[in-house]
Amino acid sequence: EPEVTQTPSHQVTQMGQEVILRCVPISNHLYFYWYRQILGQKVEFLVSFYNNEISEKSEIFDDQFSVERPDGSNFTLKIRSTKLEDSAMYFCASSPTGGKFTEAFFGQGTRLTVV
């Protein structure tokens, strides 16, 4: 069964450093998303991406964050200068369409720890 894959599973970084979280969405999906979850709490929407551009972003997704689809398979989230409060589980998701009745498929997540 096709699945969303994320690497690495765990990333430890020093405050102020840049990190790139990587995702390979399901191959025939067109819509991509990043969510984050702080320590088993609510899953928060960060950004959605379609047709090589951001379609929506939340207030969390400030200038420190960026997303990119550098090739036909990868979808990345970059945090330019990490802060302690960026420590969270980051989930990538994809869906075949962007319609309201389409579920998103989630990866296993990358646990980011900022020290």
Binding site: V4, Y33, G40, Q41, V43, F45, S48, F91, Q108, G109
Partner: protein, 111 residues
């Protein structure tokens, strides 16, 4: 704005008993509602969704959910709980470009 609420942080049931995990929604227009489950150190797994049609939706692992328009609810149910059902459950509503999740309910099924 589309949103969902899960009024219970924690639900405890005994194995073999029926379980209910509650969710209420607030949407403009037609609601498109989802349930996801998260096992420890895992991602979110899709369980079921309500788009239109029958108010009782059947999903994975024997779960079902009942859509109630008058009460704006979409409760997750299972007739007989298993210890392996213990996990974090999230209700979600689909907006056009993203999915909005509830705070989650931790279900613990005791043997």
């Amino acid at each position: 704005a589309q949103s969902v609420a899960q009024p219970e942080d924690q639900v405890n049931v005994a194995e073999g008993n029926p379980l209910t995990v509650k969710c209420t929604y607030s949407v403009s227009g037609n609601p498109y509602l989802f349930w996801y489950v998260q096992y420890p150190n895992r991602g979110l797994q899709f369980l079921l969704k309500y788009i239109t049609g029958d108010n009782l939706v059947k999903g994975s692992y024997g779960f079902e959910a009942e859509f109630n328009k008058s009460q704006t609810s979409f409760h997750l149910k299972k007739p007989s709980a298993l210890v392996s059902d213990s996990a974090l459950y999230f209700c979600a509503v689909r907006a056009l470009n993203d999915m909005r999740f509830g705070a989650g309910t931790r279900l613990t099924v005791k043997p």
